[in-house]
């Protein structure tokens, strides 16, 4: 197993996993995953369906408990540390939007903003929606939105509290070309400094230009962990294909 160089050497990793395991019944979804995510890193999490990408993200978000191993977020145990402080610095964007259908886009953002203690006002929510191209639909119920528009509103929701670590699970799903551009722009702008993201995706064309590092999971194990420099989508696909089924063999590129 290899580790990419930290973007900010010496800084406390935003996420540290050691021999992380998660089993659902007898089958392992995560199998001895070691991972460090430093401030400023923009990491793609790749792999075939069922490789454990979503499980790793959900474990990192504190939604599921690991079966074995350790996980630290911002240097703290998310199950025993100051959980509220940890969650305040963490963001989650999934292919499910978390938005309430019968509330307007602005009301949804106000609701989530207040959950994060931001005192978000309708005007603030409108500004956030403007950034994802939904300013003119701010007062419409989310149920009247197309799938892509709902995903845009979900992006605004996830970025509302400016998380230090953003976990993204297939964030490009449902987005059209303009929506993908918007998400790329926002991620590039918001995660240029010490903030980091960990993104599970199959959309290499959209995501690879954003990344500083690539991790490939296969059958719950890390098979590739390397900087993204010098990789294009085709080369990465080939690399993933070459290592497919190599889980457990300790393969490093």
């Amino acid at each position: 197993m290899t580790f990419a160089a930290s973007a900010t050497p010496g800084a406390t990793p935003l996420l540290t996993a050691r021999r992380l395991q998660k089993r659902f019944g007898a089958s392992p979804a995560l199998d001895d995953v070691d991972l460090d995510l430093a401030p400023g890193e923009r990491v793609l999490l790749l792999g075939p369906n069922g490789a454990g990408k979503s499980t790793l993200l959900r474990t990192a978000a504190g939604l599921i408990r690991p079966s074995a191993g350790s996980l630290l977020l911002f240097g703290e145990d998310p199950w025993r540390g100051d959980r509220i402080a940890i969650r305040r610095r963490l963001g989650l964007l999934s292919h499910q939007t978390f938005l309430y259908d019968h509330l307007t886009a602005a009301e949804n953002l106000v609701f989530y903003g207040r959950l994060y203690g931001l005192g978000t006002t309708t005007a603030g929510a409108r500004r956030s929606l403007d950034e994802v191209g939904l300013a003119d639909r701010a007062d419409d119920p989310v149920r009247t939105f197309s799938r892509g528009m709902q995903q845009r509103a979900a992006i605004a929701r996830a970025l509302l509290h400016a998380p230090d670590l953003l976990l993204l699970d297939e964030p490009f799903s449902g987005l059209d070309a303009a929506g993908r551009d918007t998400l790329r722009r926002l991620l590039r702008d918001r995660f240029a400094g010490a903030r980091a993201f960990l993104m599970a995706t199959h959309d290499l064309e959209s995501a690879l230009p954003l990344a500083s590092r690539v991790i490939v999971l296969d059958a719950g194990r890390v098979t590739i962990d390397r900087p993204s420099a010098g990789l294009d989508a085709a080369r990465l696909e080939a690399l993933i294909g070459r290592h497919a089924g190599a889980a457990g063999a300790g393969v490093a590129p």
Binding site: A61, G62, L63, I64, R65, I84, A85, I86, R87, R88, L90, G91, L92, S94, Q96, T97, F98, L99, Y100, D101, H102, L103, E107, F111, Y112, R114, L115, Y116, G117, G119, P141, R157
Partner: protein, 225 residues
């Protein structure tokens, strides 16, 4: 955000969602009304004393519509994985629980506010002289049912058959509050003095306190995978 602010935020969100969708209120009212009408046909209350059977009829309607309300309340959170949005938010999860209890109480109270006067008219019961005692009984027992129901609804929400599991788990746990509710309502309708049914009122109050306190402490675990 303050703890109370989070409670009100969650309850307000549920109320606003319901005002917009009217998905729940209509089904709750129709269901409760149907129970009342069916029992009205089943028992001839010109012969049968309403004081002996009526409270049971009313609480069957309240409790079953309460189960509908609880299922609906957590179905909303389950869809689109909204519950995960709540779980990753930096809030005390027990505040989410209390917000849900408050919302369930509002919906159950709305049903009660319609059904009790309707029953009074249908069954010719003079309730105005006993209104204070009746409100106390409704409040205490609705709170108890919402408290225990919300806890079990949260436990079952992440299971595949949550809507089947909820009544199976909830009804045995709700027996004390159902019993207290029926007995106190019966005494109130019969116009008996408070001392006669005071023990039942203490039971309801104690049940409310125990379940609210236990749920506030345990809710974090209830929502975990």
């Amino acid at each position: 955000m303050s703890y109370l602010g989070t409670v009100l935020l969650v309850a307000g969100k549920d109320l606003r969602t319901e005002i917009r969708s009217r998905e729940q209120v209509v089904s709750l009212f129709v269901f409760a009304l149907l129970i009342l009408v069916v029992f009205n046909f089943a028992f001839d209350f010109t012969i049968v004393d309403f004081g002996s059977l009526g409270p049971g009829v009313l609480w069957v309607a309240f409790i079953f519509s309460g189960v509908l309300a609880l299922n609906h309340s957590f179905r909303i959170e389950r869809e689109q994985d909204r519950i995960e949005g709540i779980l990753v938010a930096p809030i005390d999860r027990s505040a989410f629980y209390l917000g849900k209890v408050a919302a369930t109480m509002m919906f159950m109270s709305a049903v009660e506010a319609v059904l009790v006067p309707l029953a009074a008219i249908l069954f010719n019961q003079p309730l105005t002289t006993r209104l204070g005692a009746l409100l106390l009984v409704l409040l205490l027992n609705t709170l108890g049912f919402a408290a225990v129901g919300t806890l079990f609804a949260a436990v079952t929400t992440q299971t595949r058959r949550s809507e089947v599991l909820l009544p199976l788990l909830l009804f045995p746990a709700a027996v004390p509050i159902a019993l207290a509710a029926v007995r106190t309502t019966s005494h109130v309708l019969a116009g008996r003095p408070f001392q006669v049914y005071a023990n039942w009122v203490w039971l309801s109050g104690g049940y409310d306190l125990v379940f609210l306190a236990a749920a506030v402490l345990l809710f974090d675990f209830a929502l975990q995978e």
